[in-house]
Amino acid sequence: MTGARLNWRIAVGGGALLALAVIAILAPVLAPVDPLEQDLFLELLPPWWQADADPTRALGADSLGRDVLSRLIHAARPALTVAVVAGVLTMLLGTALGLLAGYMGGMVDVLISRLVDIWTSFPPVLLAIMLVALIGTGLHSVIIAIVLIDWTRFCRVVRSETLAQTQMEYIDAAVIGGLKRGVILFREVLPNVLPLVIVLLTLEMSIAIIVEAILSFVGLSVSSDSPTWGGMIAEGRQVIHQAWWVMAFPMGLILIAVLALNLLGDGLKTALDPVLRR
């Protein structure tokens, strides 16, 4: 793999993500109008390139006459919040359990591994919907649901990697050198597992964005008046024959976010390859 190609992936993926992050942070400044403001005269207004568009509503308006562009910009906030918070929490939980299982072995390993097996035998989407329906809607529930469902992904990979690492000679050397187990785990094993975990994190973040969109599509995420990409898609689905753009724009943004994260993950994987040894 050439250096140029590797940089290309990280640059494009990372760049797109950075842009999305800036949009989310500066949403109140960037959004041309209030995303909640309804104007029934502007109902299902088409985007700028079509006839009878309104210049103040560049991407048109939805069925309640709310500005699509402003809603898109504001909806980047819950999406990225969930991506970052759920991604990091999932990583922490899964990695901790994976390290524990791989390093302790014995009963701890058996217990955690069985739990992973049972967990992954459920269809994840259904599990997410069920969990959120049960804990109640809202961003918190969405994050909790993602963490509870997807920790297995990290756990499985980290466990097998830790197993492989603990069988290497440098661990023996550390033990003979008189280091405590916990110290060895954090100082010796963790840094070697880390590159893999970082690549998985980008994947997890893209999954989190999708899950959030799915849950708000089904109506189980944040309350329906604050905008989310999934919610906008659900609203757009209702009026798809009259105003396809209401659905198309949030879809496009989800796609961009997901592809950017995948690209970044691929780039990092290649960049960290000598460490990953894969």
Binding site: V125, L126, M247
Partner: protein
């Protein structure tokens, strides 16, 4: 195929099903919330509520509830749906065929597309068709079924309105079906206009479900095919004078299928999980669509019945995968 293996697998499925039923039962009940309150009309008394709790078996401890539920389940009674007020088993069985036909159709499509893409990629190794296949595949791997479903609706339902975007069959055809397996039935009875209409309704949800699976099959199969192509028996086949295309299909494919098949078995879980959402998006009347409504309405007996039927589907699929190993690899038969 050995009946012994089949029997052993079926016996092994019992504890799994038991485990799933316990987990679902507990999960659904430990969280706060009162499904009974949701179904009572305004102005109902506490006695009304108590009566309903008893009627749905929701009084008593969790263990008591589970024992009662299990006893009835073993006799084929899975209770009554709270939101639809119908027998759960009847509801599930009524919807199951639609999901099965969709899932089987989508899986077949995914396998066909995956095998074709992988074999073509290996045939043109190192040339532009392989580059194209790899690029398309990388993109397909990243995009979830949810987005595919919506994109298909947008493109083929709205912008180029050539396909119906909801339902399973056009009611204007006025077709009567004796079973829930509409497509199979229409094929068997040779009603080809109905077959066409069913396929037109099924094709978009099926593609949405099939694409992610097809992408994974392509990647895994392409790698294992490339490995198989450097084996000695492939060299012998080349020296026998066979074309590369024939060698890929006759010599390499079967040996290369095993890793792809294992993965297909695992990924089928995701495909069936995907039906939940895809059916919702296309208003397709299967158990996935029903599951979302059941969850939103907190219809405990129905959720339980649905999850159990998902579990049964997974077990059957894994069984089929296990059995096909023997066909693919003769060494595993003895």
């Amino acid at each position: 195929m050995s009946g012994h293996l089949l029997l052993r697998r079926l016996v092994q499925a019992v504890p799994t099903l038991f485990g799933v039923s316990v987990v679902v039962f507990v999960l659904v009940r430990v969280v706060p919330g009162n499904p009974i309150a949701m179904m009572l009309p305004p102005g109902a008394t506490l006695e009304d509520m108590e009566r309903l709790r008893q009627a749905y078996g929701l009084d008593g401890s969790i263990v008591e509830q589970y024992v009662i539920w299990l006893g009835q389940a073993l006799q084929g009674s899975f209770g009554t749906s709270i939101s639809l007020r119908q027998d759960v088993l009847e509801l599930v069985l009524g919807r199951l065929p639609a999901t099965l036909e969709l899932a089987v159709f989508a899986t077949a499509m995914a396998i066909a597309v995956g095998v074709l893409a992988a074999t073509t990629g290996v045939l043109f190794r190192g040339r532009w068709p392989e580059t194209v296949i790899d690029a398309v595949n990388g993109f397909t791997l990243a995009v979830p079924d949810f987005i595919w479903a919506l994109a298909l609706i947008l493109v083929f339902g709205v912008l180029l309105p050539v396909l119906p975007i909801s339902g399973r069959v056009d009611p204007r055809l006025g077709t009567e079906f004796a079973t829930g397996f509409y497509l199979t039935e229409a094929l068997v009875s040779a009603r080809f206009t109905v077959v066409g209409d069913l396929l037109a309704h099924m094709i978009m949800p099926a593609i949405a479900l099939a694409l992610p699976l097809a992408a994974i099959i392509t990647r895994v199969l392409k790698n294992s095919l490339a490995e198989a192509m450097v084996q000695d028996y492939v060299m012998i086949a080349r020296v026998k004078g066979f074309s590369r295309w024939r060698i890929i299909w006759v010599e390499a494919l079967r040996n290369a299928s095993i890793p792809a098949l294992t993965l297909t078995g695992v990924q089928f879980t995701f495909l069936v999980g995907g039906t939940v959402l895809v059916e919702k998006i296309f208003s397709y009347p299967g158990i996935g669509n029903m599951a979302i409504d059941a969850v939103i309405n907190r219809d405990l007996p129905l959720i339980q019945g649905l999850i159990l039927s998902f579990a049964v589907i997974f077990i059957v699929v894994n069984l089929l995968v296990d059995l096909s190993y023997g066909w693919l690899n003769p060494r595993l038969r003895s």
